[in-house]
Symmetry: D2
Subunit: 338 residues, 4 copies
């Protein structure tokens, strides 16, 4: 932490700040510049968290030097996080595909999708049961019934499952049926839910918030890991900008940025990022080349009839084309497609 | 709803779309342009919600003509919403002040604040008990204990109370102590929580999400009202942009925009919008002049010692100055300051 | 300037940085923190401008402590800039109205507008002659012919004039006819043009760029003033965000922010900020209450027939209503309406 | 063009709109919906450009159906633009590398860079001579002297050249020395300059504006092509968002979006997009995989000593690594690396 004094700060102001720091058990190193004095704070800056040093007379601003997150921070743990969910390893040299419909709609739909995906080599099935929709008049998902259907499909085709929970109530139900719990973009800032999923023993698939900075996203992961659940997968799914030709703007740089700041695996969701079918395959290729650890893609046996997000869903045939196109790039990145 | 066909759409494509519309009980009006054909859809477009018409061959895009929200829509109900919370009327010709500390910290702090505010004529006391903080290492609030303290302070000084809930668990507790339930910016997209607060009989203070469009915000209000709770107050508190000299960017236009699109009362929170003490009073004046229905302002008896948001909290003396400065503008706007 | 070292920086790395600083005639103050070492740089940091210290081994990042602009910086000159254009004083206790059509279209149009505005007490007439339009197929302005017409109208009604220049060519022409030169949002980053207008003796009306930070905007003003033209008026006109219900998002906070960072006068343009007629008056009131120094408003005698921006132009009658509504607020702000 | 009437529009209002359309030689197709009437406009909507139909009584809004740009629009010309600059073909099955220093600084620097790049197989040399810098106190470029040096280096190593022009004055000089003229992000909205470069016979390298929408960017290209210069290369270089961990946010989706909307070649500049050295190679790989037509990368023989953008410049050795890493992906995309 650095404290920058105002140009007109008096010697008395500076001494007052230094006294305060000493009172809190911290040391102060002064640098008297030509225009302003800056004070380097030595010690655990956490003790300053609620001290409002910026309100002391003569103080211009506080500049944090280190990040607030620790457990997810590469500075504190240089080894990439790699873990297994059943027999599927995430991270490391693996490239993992997660696919399935936006919403679970019927037994036929989810079984048919699971069959196609399983034949294509996909091991993780996604499907929404608790849907956070902008309008209360949109389809809100089948709830527990949906999760049961997906569990059945996954068993039959030897897959594991992931689905979003939007409340503690949904989490209690979901834990029974799912292998991976997803926190969606709209709940990334829902800290109570983050703490709750942190208390489960399930791996967590944490999407980036609609307009969350990367630091806020890593802090959200910190909420989960701090509850002793270290199996967290991050997923970039596009951020909100002024550009309207895509539903969101895929922040492809988030892949290398997160990899440099954290040791957690990072996936990319090109379906939500673009919202437009024809852009999904190019974005999937780009995500692989940026060296992400996997993709989450929306696939529906009959997008025309999908109850949500049909416009951004691939058919099983189109998804086979996606696999075909990313496969050689996955190999170049020295990963194994799972 | 308008369906725009691609320039190369065939007559067959067009007929196929029209057939589909008829199948769903809708009528189609064709306009054959020089370059493209557009199809006006007549009937309740809600039946098209999950029909993915944009995937039909030859279709370029769908353009919605009307909003998805109804109960909050001025087009369906022209009369401004005005309601009473105990004896305090919100909306109409009233201008309402809500003030108090970011977090409830101690009996002394909340009683001292309530006393000052009450003497200044403020009737609604705010104070956070369940705090959604970006970092898990920041102060998370006193919880139920805090609400009890605030209830005591409010009773003694004849005020009513508002506080944020961040989960169904917090809501169950909060209902016992509070007069108004707040949904904060980070939970505006938490639709399960919106439905739950819609099922209470308490008025709801709904802040705009960090980067929610005005349409999404009005849809969030629709979630609440649809559960038969029509006492909703909207609160603009700044949106996320590229500008970093303020914590958020106060979208002052949201006041007239919401007033033209909806009949609900709109407040402004200049404290969170700016994050900088010295900008709060000018923004408060601007908000009054934009014709909002009230303000929510952070006031702390000793901002230096505040456990959260000290940098953007006014002292009681500074808050008196705020009242002094907005008062004549409130009068010009022909409102009564409460 | 502060240099933050990486957690793993060696003693050798640190010494290397210190040596470099000494070599450039600067002093270094080290603060050895628990996790990282920070180095305070003492001396004129301008000498580091092209030294890329962030590339030295072990350096994590550079944090600037002071702004790059000087002449416009309140820290260096605390006195508000007030100046006269002919007999019209800008800044200080004055509140100045600038109004007129988006584009000068015909003699009748500009004379009729000037007449109405003059009767309403407006002293500064605006009108576009060189129009920067998004599409090359839109009306591009009358050029010199337009400026001649406006000059005639201004003379007849005893007004002064302002118009935008979009190139050095336009500037050469414009200087002959105009009292104030405007740099529009699309050219705020056109540094060559800024230097050129800085070399004229005309006051400059500098709009904020479409997505310029306040610091970039003040640097743009610095470009002008550095050429010895200190008569600069800043004008906030909305920034680009994700919100689409208004053409731009009026950053009302920019008024107090600029006033705290700079001594230059600040105007607001509610017409471009909103792009919607019915929001202009509320935003104008808000701008006055935020304590800006004046407004620029689009007024057209017959908006239905306007060749550009008709949808956001007020009629003379509507503009009279705007004046009526802002007048009492101007008085509360202790300014004189000019 | 579609005209949406307000719910309360009268029959008279509708007839008035229809009459106006007829007057302008257009046809009107009415669709009477349950809630609102929409009017499809048949004919060349360009005649409505300055007619402000949205101001007619009862009109709610106008919705454009087709784009304003024509010459760059894929809808009007399906064939990808491919052209030669000397013997270097751009677009089609080619993948083109442009590299060089941010600023031309000295004979030694530009010759040394050209030598390294030439040995690495690069055919197009970049180097800035007229630099648009945020602060007037930053290095502004060597001007004509710099261009002469670059021309010399290019001749010696058999390369062609590209550099940015920031004014008509710079363009007049630059035309003598350069093979390709660059319009930088800060001048993408400088329409006068766009027209001028459109009148030259040089190919134009058009960067996307700091916060330009893709539609505005394509309109900027239209300005150039409309002057009969059809050799335009578009370059995505990151847009402005709230995220601060990168200098800009690379909008990787812009590659497939532009390819679907236009027939022009699209390049990517990962150096400006990220601003951080270590992210450049991952972003370069992603850009290739998204199927762009080439890259522009900043390379400096000694980034520590660079007069601008050192922090985002690769050394020649690092650039060789970039080529090594993108090469196999270029091949997968069935392009030839040039």
């Amino acid at each position: 932490m650095i404290i920058v004094m105002k140009p007109k700060a008096t010697q008395e102001n500076i001494e007052h700040v230094v006294e305060k720091l000493h009172k809190y058990g911290l040391e102060a190193h002064l640098s008297q510049g030509k225009l302003v004095t800056i004070i380097g704070v030595i010690g655990d800056k956490a003790v300053l968290a609620n001290k409002n040093m910026e309100l002391l007379p003569g103080v211009d601003k506080l500049i944090p030097v280190t990040e607030t997150y620790k457990l997810v921070n590469r500075k504190f743990s240089d080894q990439n996080t790699v873990f297994k969910i059943k027999d599927i390893e995430i991270g490391g040299g693996n490239f993992t595909l997660i696919a399935g419909p936006c919403s679970i709609e019927s037994e036929e739909q989810i079984f048919s999708t699971a069959k196609s995906l399983s034949e294509a080599g996909v091991k993780i099935l996604r499907g929404g049961a608790f849907k956070p929709r902008t309008s209360p008049y949109s389809f809100q998902g089948l709830g527990e019934e949906g999760l049961k259907l997906m569990e059945g499909a996954a068993k039959q085709f030897n897959m594991i499952t992931v689905s979003e929970v939007t409340s503690v109530y949904a989490l209690d139900i979901a834990e029974k049926y799912l292998d991976i719990i997803q926190i969606g973009a709209r709940n990334m800032h829902n800290y109570e839910l983050l703490k709750e999923v942190g208390r489960t023993h399930k791996p967590i698939f944490l999407k980036r918030g609609l307009s969350a900075t990367i630091d806020e996203w890593l802090n959200a992961a910190e909420y989960i890991i701090r509850e002793n659940n270290s199996k967290v997968i991050l997923c970039e799914r596009g951020i909100r900008t002024f550009e309207t030709s895509t539903r969101n703007t895929l922040d492809i740089s988030a892949v290398p940025v997160v990899k440099s700041k954290s040791h957690l695996p990072v996936f990319v969701d090109p379906s939500h990022a673009s919202g437009v079918k024809e852009y999904i395959i190019p974005l999937a290729r780009a995500a692989v080349a940026a060296d992400c650890d996997g993709l989450m893609v929306e696939v529906h046996p009959d997008p025309d009839q999908a109850l949500s997000d049909g416009a951004q869903s691939l058919t099983p045939v189109e998804f086979m084309e996606l696999i075909k196109q990313i496969k050689p790039i996955v190999e170049i990145m020295r990963r194994k497609l799972r």
